[in-house]
């Protein structure tokens, strides 16, 4: 399996053809890093549409039910979010997965915005996981972003300012819609690209998204 890593780095996400099983998805994950299990131990998690009542506490479904999800960084509840998120969709695939490249989403903002981003302090508060974090972090030579409007609360005045703006962005803007077709998977650079779930189509059938986290 050959992955165009340069394109992934430049664009922030790429679609890969020929991924038709969980095994394929896992092998694809290994080409970009080390797959890591979700907090409940599963390596590949099947995500299905759930009502608010049936969804696990703290999940996007528990907040938005069957509706659309705002753009967000995955695994903000880990001190260092996973570097890549791999998704494969099948079933009723009319509903797209949305992606937002952070540098594109915030490119029109002024110097104050960027200055405040550096100064902003946030609290991640998910179940028994509570820790402070930045929304723009450096790890080695890489810079990464972390934002989830529902799981991160602003702590200082700079974060309150940034939160007002980002909260609007993640609910109203997207860079692209990934329309699932056939045996495809998407690799999302989770430190630079947010993702979400599009609007629910009428009479939606069973839509399954397989998800793999990769460090």
């Amino acid at each position: 399996m050959i992955i165009d890593l340069k394109k992934l780095e430049e664009k922030g996400w790429i679609l890969v053809d020929g991924i038709s099983t969980k095994h394929d998805l896992l092998e694809l994950g290994k080409t970009v890093g080390t797959p890591v299990p979700t907090p409940n131990g599963e390596l590949i998690k099947e995500i299905r549409r759930l009502s608010k009542e049936k969804a696990p506490l703290g999940s996007q479904s528990s907040l938005y039910g069957a509706g659309s999800f705002p753009l967000h960084t995955d695994t903000v509840f880990w001190p260092l979010p996973v570097k890549y998120v791999l998704l494969r969709g099948y079933g009723d695939t009319r509903r797209p997965t949305t992606v937002g490249v952070i540098s594109e989403l915030i490119k029109d903002y002024d110097k104050k915005f960027y200055n405040y981003i550096k100064k902003s302090i946030w609290l991640v508060n998910v179940g028994n996981k509570k820790f402070y974090c930045s929304c723009n972090f450096g790890e080695g030579s890489c810079m990464g972003w972390r934002y989830d409007a529902d799981l991160m609360s602003p702590v200082n005045k700079e974060a309150i300012y940034i939160n007002k703006i980002l909260n609007q962005i993640v609910r109203n803007k997207v860079s692209d819609n990934i329309v699932w077709s056939g045996n495809q998977a998407v690799i999302i650079a989770n430190w630079n690209v947010l993702h979400g779930r599009g609007e629910r189509p009428p009479n939606e059938g069973v839509r399954i998204i397989e998800r793999l986290y990769v460090r």
């Binding site: 890591v36 907090p39 001190p79 260092l80 550096k118 100064k119 302090i121 946030w122 820790f131 402070y132 974090c133 930045s134 972090f137 450096g138 790890e139 702590v155 200082n156």
Partner: protein
Amino acid sequence: MSWEKDPLWTKARLFLKYAFEDTERDDPKFGLWCSMGLELLARASLSSISPTLLALPDRNHIYLLHALRKESEVPFPQSIPAAVVFDLCKKIYPGFSEEDHNIAKALLSRRNAELHSGTAAFIEYKSSQWLTGFYHACKSLVTTLEKTLVDLFGEEEARLAEEILSGNREIIKTNVLAGIAAHKKVFESKKRENKEKAKIDSEKLGLELSTQRHHRVTCPACQCVATVQGREFGKEHVVSEAGGNITIKQAVLPTSFSCSACGLNFTTFTELEIAGIGNSYTRRKTCSAAEYYGLIDPENIDEYLASEHGDFLEYDNE
């Protein structure tokens, strides 16, 4: 438990915000927040090499595995004590000097005394005794994280810290101590009545100057009343609002010293700090609510508009 660099770095910034923005400099909590912020900064610095450095060694490597994310079920993972954190920083980072290590350990001792005993540890450990060293230790540690003091403190505090750190301390120290010794010798050689007169005059002058933005201190050479002047810094704290007036407390960093009795003078904070008269002090001022909030008297709106915008006829344009 998070031993990753980013949460530790962010929490260090938060604690230093509590110190520098939310606490008055003469409040004992200022030292406490600074000491805790410094420890978190040092932990972030070690974590930037590997979070495993923070794991408390144990026979079964439980905490090490936790740091490696191989054992997530440890309810309260234990990390190495702060003293070991600073020892490791000294071993690993050449830039974290013996002096940085000493001031970090001194603040740590005070913090422990503050948290684990009934001692009011930071009341007697004035910021003038440790602030310069603290800034230096912070600078050494932020460098290891490829950050700057601006990233840690914000622009204003970082500018002040850099200014304080910019002098060559050893040379300044020699000059300051020599200056004090020389003035002391000259003053002591004066006749007794002249010394008495100089003392009385200095008290009078000190009292007079204290109403003119000077702050009275004891001269380190002749022990007479002398004064310092300085620069306001940090956040203003409103202490009372009554009868339309607002009283504000503002921290002042002393930057010049003058003694009328023996003639000793200093002109920088570093000199004052070495001479033992570098404590920041607070200045109270009272102003009207209108002044404080920049309110405009509606009676004088035309005057205000003219002063702000000159010819205001343009305002009539749609």
